[in-house]
Symmetry: C2
Subunit: 331 residues, 2 copies
């Protein structure tokens, strides 16, 4: 294991301290609750949004805390759920009377803990589960059902965050978040594995000419172990699989995101984005909004994912609303 | 070689097409000149800024084209200088009567070609050379003198871009750019090599427990091949070496940038940033501005660099001026 760290047990607290110090004008860090909070409290009566999950996927979710997106992100140990106590503390810290929505990626441990937090929370709290990974049916980590939640969670957080910022009520915000999740699909490929610092060894192995198609963001097995393929071939597989989930109507504007898994450089993400976009436009789809970058990583795993969201005009307007976070930022 | 590409010879044009399509509201792509241009022409009489260099360092320089920073970025083949013809076409495209400044990283090929472009250009054109890499004296690529230009070039481009946007004359803009370069130092470490697509094999080899201290952004040998060290040790080495260049006065506010080389994930960059920041503050320095991210890559090389700029109040204000590019964006 070769990483830029001090000691495995210090990696997470030091990373969080670095991140929150760098972005201290937007976020603050509650070290006791290992939670990143929006610096400025939301207006009274607005719905508060809390997300969280295992670490190792940076900048998800800590990079999305700020005006127009999340109010708090609870961080678990690497690839491990945060605890109900953390979630409860976060909800108490950000609640201003409009209720709290927990946005949770579909993993058994996360859901169990967030459900406990909902039960323990004194005010109104609801859960929205994201399950955008189309690689496998019932791909959910550990025991459980449905698809994994991956990079598309960012889109749900942005759009629900805009709805909350506008002052929509909790039921409407939940409905919009669920609609966004249903309109979103993602699929990834790994070119290398990753090493959890506390373990010290790769969590799977890939041959020099192999790729893991449909890999999960913790290195979970994907749909197939394949011989290395071209960006065009990968993009076509991704687009076809995602459109199966979100539907193939060509009237709705699409959001296209190309996400790096941590070890793949910008130039390769630009190429994969280009392949996906050309396939979509050649089939008559309209790519109206785009993101390229490392938004949901799997430690240092080389690889990338494609996410598509079918935006109707309502979702498109919410996407375009101002946002001011460490990673997404527009006026 | 395992990469997300189609064919080595198509990697660069496809990446540029993807990048410019994604960011089409800010930039446009002149495919014939392989140059990325600011979408909106600058006001008449303002100084125009053109940068460029070999590709493989994305998002440098294409990610810094836009309002308040560069007017054009010429892209060479991977790790190869663009040609004087490209630079001349870029200068002609963006010149609005205030003259053109070429910002050039200190590599022999780039300088030779940009100097030819200055000679061939009909209007007034000047060159600013960046040489922020403190790893080695006379580390310049190929034959030549002085230090390599690396990630700190971003700081020069931002501050000179703000000066040009304010309407400062060309001589003053050049002076500010040179002052910024002199106040900036950088140093990098590699944890892995990288593979130029057309070559297909790594351009150097590192053992499982080795790091290349002071590596160049094309994989040039650094100061020393070392056994793997902690983030704190690396940060201290970087900070000491950089302060030797930029001076150690504690009154000036510092800009601290932690830059990924392409294959290192956000979590490791946060840790290295944190180490550098703690060392600086423990010695009484004031870190007033910060950046963490992949700003100047070396293809998929794992590793990172630290850059420090000593900002006086004038440079700090220019840094804070609005900027609207694909990568740097604030109002």
């Amino acid at each position: 294991m070769k990483k830029i760290i001090n000691a495995p047990e210090k990696a997470l607290p030091e990373a969080l301290e670095g991140f929150t110090t760098c972005h201290g004008h937007m976020v603050r860090y509650d070290a006791a609750a290992r939670t990143v909070l929006r610096r400025e409290r939301k207006k009274d009566g607005r719905v508060a949004l809390v997300s969280g999950g295992g670490s190792g996927h940076e900048p998800m979710h800590i990079g999305y805390v700020g005006r127009g997106m999340l109010d708090a992100a609870c961080t678990g140990q690497i690839f491990t759920s945060p605890t109900p106590d953390q979630m409860l503390a976060a909800a108490d810290a950000v609640e201003t009377g409009g209720g709290v929505i927990f946005i949770v990626k579909n993993y058994a441990g996360d859901i169990m803990n967030f459900e406990m937090a909902v039960e323990m929370h004194h005010g109104r709290a609801m859960i929205v589960i994201t399950d955008d990974d189309v690689a496998l049916e019932n791909s959910m980590c550990a025991s459980g059902q449905g698809n994994r939640g991956v990079a598309g969670t960012l889109v749900v957080e942005k759009i629900a965050g805009a709805a909350a910022e506008r002052g929509y009520g909790i039921d409407r915000c939940v409905e919009i978040a669920q609609q966004t999740n249903a309109a979103t699909g993602s699929m990834a490929v790994a070119l290398s594995s990753c090493v959890v610092p506390a373990a010290g060894t790769p969590n799977f192995l890939l041959g020099e000419d192999e790729m893991e198609l449909g890999v999960g963001i913790h290195g979970e097995a994907g749909r197939e172990r394949i011989k290395a393929r071209s960006a065009d071939d990968l993009a076509e597989l991704f687009v076809d699989s995602i459109l199966e989930r979100i539907g193939t109507a060509k009237d709705d504007p699409l959001l296209l995101m190309c996400n790096g898994l941590g070890g793949s450089p910008p130039i390769e993400l630009y190429i994969l984005y280009n392949s996906a976009r050309k396939i979509l436009t050649s089939r008559g789809y309209r790519v109206e909004r785009s993101l390229i970058g490392t938004f949901c990583s799997a430690l240092e795993m080389a690889g990338a994912s494609i996410t598509l969201t079918k935006l109707d005009m309502g979702l498109l307007n919410l996407w375009d609303d101002p946002v001011e976070t460490p990673v997404l930022r527009w006026a």
